[in-house]
Amino acid sequence: MVVSKRRYAMADVISFAKTTARYGALSNMAPKYPLFVNEVLIHSSECLYQACKFPLHPQIQKEIIEQRNPMVAKEISRKYSKFVRDDWDDVKYKVMEWCLEVKLIQNWDTFADVLVKTGNKSIVEYSTKDDTWGAMPDGDYLVGRNALGRLLMQVRANYLENRRQRYKLLPPDVVGFLLFGYPIGTVYGQEYYHNEWL
C-alpha cells in the first residue's frame, strides 16, 4: 500500500486523538474494546498490532499482551525494535487493517456505532508527531498520510454499507503470522461467543 500525503480541512473532518474525547474510540489506544484471538484475551487493538510485529519472539508478544495499558505496550514494543519482523514495512498496513476489522467484529455493538456516527466524513488521526499514521496541524488544515484514518474509512465502507455483522474473519495474507508460536486462525465476531457454552 502506497500512502500519499493529504491535506484535510479541519472543519470538514472527524478527527480523533485522546481516547476520552468524543471520537476517542477510533484510537487503537481506546480501552473497553477487548479482542479474542487464538482464544487469548487481548485488551486493545494497539496491543494486538504491536504483538504482530514479533511473530518469532513469543516472549516479547507475551510482555506486550499482558499489558492492560496500550501506551505501555507500545513502549515495550519500541524497546525491542531490533526484533521487529524484517518485512514489517511491507505488511504493516495490511496487519493494521486486520486489527481494525477484528476490533469491529468483536465489538460490533459499540464500535460500529462510533463508525456510523462519523457519517461520510473523512476520519483523521490528529497528531503532533506522526504524519504517517496520522496528520499534523498546519493552520486550519491537518496534513499527513493519515494511514490509520484512511484504513478506518476503508473498514467503515466495507462493513457498514450493508450494516450486517460479520461472523468471522480470516487472517491477513501475511507469511508467518503467528501469536505465541501458533498460526493466527480465524477470528470470530462477538455474536459467536454468545453461543459458546451451548
Binding site: P31, K32, P34, F36, N38, E39, V40, L41, P58, Q59, K62, R68, Q106, N107, D109, L179, F180, G181, Y182, G185, Q190, Y193, H194, N195, E196, W197, L198
Partner: protein
C-alpha cells in the same frame, strides 16, 4: 504380576481412601482391583500410571485443610491486613452455588479453620459493610459455572461500576484452574454477560494450574499439558478417529489433539510413551462406555463432559479431590450407571 498388581492396588487405595468417606462412599481394594481388571492386559499399566497421576493431582481432605489454613494467613498478607478482625469485617465469602456444591463445602472449611485457629465466628461479622468478596470453588474447567455465577452476582447486584472503580474487590480463589476455560470465561464476562466490565479488577488465585490451552506459552520452551488427557490423533484407534470425525460439533477442533512432540519434556505422566498409551486407553474405554448409552447427550465424550459445540474428545481433566471427581474427567474414572458394564474407580454416592 499378581504381586505387582496387589502392590499398586494398595498404593492407589492409600491415595484415594478418603474419597467421599464423610458421605458414606467406601473405596475398597477389591473395587480398585475390579476397576483395573476391566482394562484386561493393560490392568497393571493402568494402575501404575493412575497411581502416578493420583500422587500428583489427587487432593485429600487433609491436604485441603492444610491448603486453606495457609491460605487464610496468605490472604491477610496479600490484602495488607495486620489482624484477622479487621479482615473479617471487610471480607465476604460468597455462597452463590447451591447447597452441597463445592463452594459451600470450602466456605464451611474456611470458617471452621477460623473458628479453630482464631476463636472467631465469621457470621459475627456479617453486618459490617463488605469490601472484599471471595468466590471459592475447587475446579475451574470450562469456566461455565463460574462465569454465570459471577455475571449474575455482578448484574443482579448492580456491582459493575463498583468493581470498575475499585470501590469493591472481587477475588476468585480456586484449587485448580484450567487455563483455556479461564481465558474463555474472562472474555465472555467482558463481552457477553457483563459488557463493559474490566476483568482486570477480578483477581483469580489458584493453587494449581492445568496448562491445557494449546495456543498459549507457559514459561516458554515447555508446556507441560499437565493433569489433562489430550491425545495424539495419529496414535488413536480408527474407531476413535471415526467417532471424532462424526461428532456434530464445530468449535475448537484444533484443541482436540496435541502434537506428539508436545510437551517437549514429559513431567506429569511417567513417560512420553506411557502418556500416549494411557490417553489412547482412556479414549477407547470411554467409547466402550458411550456405546452402552442408548441416548447419548451432546456433552458426553470419552474424556469427560464438554459443551456439545466443542469438537473434542472431552475436557480430559485429571485433577480430583476428596469430594469431587469432575464429570469433565475421563468417563472411566466415574461413570457409574446401573445396567452398564462398567465399574468406576470412584463410585457414585448412593441413596
Amino acid at each position: 504380576m499378581v504381586a505387582m498388581i496387589d502392590a499398586l492396588v494398595e498404593q492407589v487405595f492409600d491415595k484415594i481412601k478418603d474419597f467421599r468417606k464423610d458421605e458414606g462412599v467406601q473405596i475398597t481394594r477389591d473395587g480398585i482391583r475390579e476397576w483395573a481388571e476391566q482394562f484386561g492386559d493393560d490392568a497393571e499399566f493402568m494402575l501404575c500410571e493412575t497411581d502416578n497421576i493420583l500422587g500428583k493431582t489427587y487432593l485429600t481432605k487433609e491436604d485441603a485443610i492444610a491448603l486453606y489454613r495457609n491460605y487464610i494467613k496468605e490472604h491477610l498478607k496479600r490484602h495488607g491486613y495486620d489482624d484477622i478482625v479487621r479482615y473479617l469485617q471487610d471480607v465476604c465469602y460468597l455462597r452463590l452455588q447451591p447447597e452441597g456444591k463445592s463452594q459451600n463445602v470450602i466456605v464451611n472449611m474456611v470458617e471452621d479453620i477460623i473458628r479453630t485457629d482464631y476463636g472467631l465466628e465469621v457470621k459475627d461479622f456479617a453486618d459490617y459493610p463488605k469490601k472484599l468478596f471471595i468466590y471459592f470453588d475447587d475446579v475451574l474447567i470450562t469456566g461455565g459455572t463460574l462465569g454465570s455465577d459471577l455475571a449474575n452476582w455482578i448484574n443482579e447486584g448492580d456491582r459493575k461500576d463498583d468493581l470498575n472503580n475499585r470501590r469493591i474487590k472481587l477475588e476468585v480463589d480456586l484449587i485448580v484452574e484450567h487455563r483455556f476455560g479461564q481465558n474463555m470465561m474472562l472474555y465472555r464476562l467482558e463481552q457477553v454477560t457483563c459488557k463493559g466490565l474490566n476483568t482486570d479488577n477480578i483477581h483469580i488465585w489458584h493453587y494449581y494450574e492445568v496448562e491445557n490451552h494449546l495456543k498459549l506459552p507457559y514459561g516458554f520452551g515447555i508446556q507441560h499439558l499437565n493433569a489433562v488427557a489430550i491425545p495424539v490423533k495419529e496414535t488413536l484407534s480408527p474407531a476413535a478417529i471415526e467417532y471424532w470425525e462424526k461428532l456434530s460439533a464445530d468449535r475448537h477442533a484444533d484443541y482436540a489433539f496435541r502434537s506428539e512432540n508436545r510437551p517437549a519434556e514429559e513431567k506429569y505422566y511417567t513417560s512420553a510413551e506411557n502418556r500416549i498409551r494411557y490417553e489412547r486407553i482412556l479414549v477407547d474405554k470411554g467409547l466402550y462406555i458411550i456405546n452402552q448409552i442408548q441416548d447419548v447427550k451432546g456433552n458426553v465424550r470419552p474424556l469427560g463432559f464438554i459443551f456439545p459445540s466443542y469438537k473434542t474428545l472431552g475436557a480430559g481433566t485429571l485433577f480430583f479431590t476428596w469430594r469431587n471427581v469432575p464429570n469433565n474427567s475421563p468417563l472411566v474414572f466415574w461413570w457409574d450407571v446401573h445396567g452398564h458394564n462398567w465399574k468406576p474407580l470412584f463410585p457414585a454416592k448412593r441413596g
